[in-house]
Amino acid sequence: MSRDNTVLTGAHFWDGDYACAEGAIAAGCRFFAGYPITPSTEIAERIAQRFPFVGGTFIQMEDELASMAAILGAAWAGTKAMTVTSGPGFSLMQENIGLGVMTETPCVVVDVQRGGPSTGLPTLTGQQDMMQARWGSHGDYEIIALSPSSPQECFDLTITCFDLSERYRVPVLFMMDECVGHMTEKVVVPEREKINPVPRRWYRGPKDKYRPFQPEEDGVPAMVRAGRDYRVHITGLTHDERGYPVINAECQNWCVKRLVNKIRDNAEKIVMLEEFQTEDAEVVVVAYGISARVAFKAIADARAKGVKAGMLRLITVWPFPERRVRELAERVKVLVMPEINLGQVYLELQRVVGDRCQTAHVPHCGGWVHDPNDILAAIMASGR
């Protein structure tokens, strides 16, 4: 069999869900455990269909809790693993996302957001899980979350998610939304040689000196897999560098601070942004996901009306790009944030900006995307 099925080089007409599945395969993901939930089901379906052609193992688990636990297990078996879900399932996965953070397990969790809370609007869009992405699990921790604005980004950024998870040994959340997930657009898949997925950070030193949670210079420990006679002990309890549980405040201080600083100290390398016409902007729209695409229209209309508007698109939502936002806040009049929720990432924007400049919020309850005129109105109101 000579055909390479793993990277379908060429131009395709895919929806975001399919593009995400293909991105995972191109990134080297070969284990998937999931549970069907609208609007993410198509990702699971595509993977179920494709994995047998690329040497992957697909399993539909009995629920989302099992799915999240299974991908952690598979990661420790030595493979790249992914699961997909939406709001209600994302809630169920939180405990084990915490386990993934605590055990520093690389994996990708895709949340194709829909209207919430609770069962909400299963088939319609929302961006209402953004704070949950940051704080959904209990305890203090930092996480990486990306948000795509197009099916092309669903392909490209899924690969980035895997890269970040391997580089920083942390579960990475891919916060899609139903609109992008079910939108069909041109997706260009490059040649296999142009895709260089980041390999796992394997330990290379002497076996007896291995400590599963001893950080290297960048704060990230090297990893091994089960079955190589390293005899690792991995636990969700607070642990020392050997992985052994140590139940006291001193170890908690060491353990948790290291997990948090691992992301915070590397935030500048993790953050990805797109800037559009910000050089001379007086009003900058800070947006992510589908809302950013709608906002581009509003910005064009504002410019036509003489208001110097620009866009700071958050590709990485968590960690929040504090430095760049503060820089912009020093020189613009207003930062406008449209979100398909009643104020989630906006809270972070307000916190970071402080009183450097004004902030304006364009909320939306969900079920549809913003009317660009609503965003335009917010830009015009503050541009005065």
């Binding site: 809790l65 099992a66 799915s67 420790w76 030595g78 190589r228 991995i234 636990t235």
Partner: protein, 292 residues
């Protein structure tokens, strides 16, 4: 605090001796389960690097921290799906789940029935001490009626599970029950289960003197084990429906089910090969570690 010792127990190479003494109470049966398990591992001859232990939360869950093998102490109830991920991620591994009755059967109940249904190639050692011990002695789905526990202060009025029957009816292909007194049979069962392809479930009845025993005035762990000696009967091959345990009643032990059915991986690979034909690419195993 370390004690100087020049003597080495025969199982010390399989124990994390820097974590001994373990946290389990005097006369608790968990140390015996660990002893039987490690003896079985040694006698089975299975290469040590291939054996992985996964546990959940609870007193039994601490077992993972004491074995000198790759071990994973996961979240409450999720040992089985984690173990499923490990097994499917590297089918060469021998994955053993050691967890308690609360962890595997209550919060983990859904995963138990599905893993058994799939005949996932796992070995499950379910230590049943009839309560949630770690949290101070609450009743659980295996607590016999009448037993008094902190959340059933007047005695439990819920019907408990009959675990061998439960997993048998879900499709487990190796089912056994022993008490901690039946150490040799238990070791033998664990050895059989380790090489048995498919879902193996061994229930181990174990004394919990500090909570279950004390709250029901059953004496020390030694008194409880003497009750096992008096009231347990070996019935190999019996119908699992007959395995109910009443409060301080008879305990039927034995190897009840041992049959061969295609495992999850065997079924998956055969089926996909048939359906897809030549283009089917089976899972290639874990990633290459050479850094490419």
């Amino acid at each position: 605090m370390s004690f100087e010792q020049l003597a080495t127990h025969p199982l010390d190479d399989l124990l994390r001796v820097d974590r001994i003494p373990h946290i389990w109470c005097p006369t608790c049966g968990l140390g015996i389960v660990l002893n039987s398990f490690l003896t079985a591992v040694k006698e089975s001859g299975i290469p040590r690097e291939d054996i992985v232990v996964v546990s959940g939360i609870g007193c039994t869950g601490r077992a993972a921290g004491y074995v000198n093998l790759d071990s994973f102490h996961t979240t409450h109830g999720r040992a089985l799906p984690f173990a499923t991920g490990l097994k499917l991620g590297n089918p060469k591994l021998k994955v053993v789940v050691i967890s308690g009755d609360g962890d595997l059967v209550a919060i983990g109940g859904n995963h138990l029935i599905h893993s058994a249904r799939r005949n996932m190639d796992l070995t499950v050692i379910c230590v049943n001490n009839f309560n949630y011990a770690m949290t101070g002695g609450q009743f659980g789905p295996t607590t016999p009626r009448q037993a008094r526990l902190t959340t059933a202060p007047y005695g439990s009025y819920e019907h408990p599970f009959n675990l061998p029957f439960l997993v048998d009816s879900c499709g487990a292909t190796y089912v056994a029950r022993w008490t901690v007194l039946h150490t040799r049979q238990l070791t033998g069962s664990i050895k059989e289960a380790l090489i048995h392809p498919g879902f193996s479930f061994i229930e181990v009845i174990s004394p919990c003197p500090t909570v279950y025993g004390r709250r029901n005035q059953l004496g020390s762990g030694l008194d409880i084990v003497k009750y096992y000696r008096e009231r347990s009967v070996v019935r190999n091959g019996i119908d699992t429906r007959e395995c109910e345990i009443d409060y301080q009643g008879q305990i039927v032990v034995g190897r009840f089910v041992q049959k061969r059915k295609p495992t999850y991986l065997e079924t998956m690979n055969d089926y996909l090969r048939q359906s897809i034909g030549e283009e089917f690419v089976p899972y290639q195993g874990p990633m290459d570690e050479s850094g490419d």
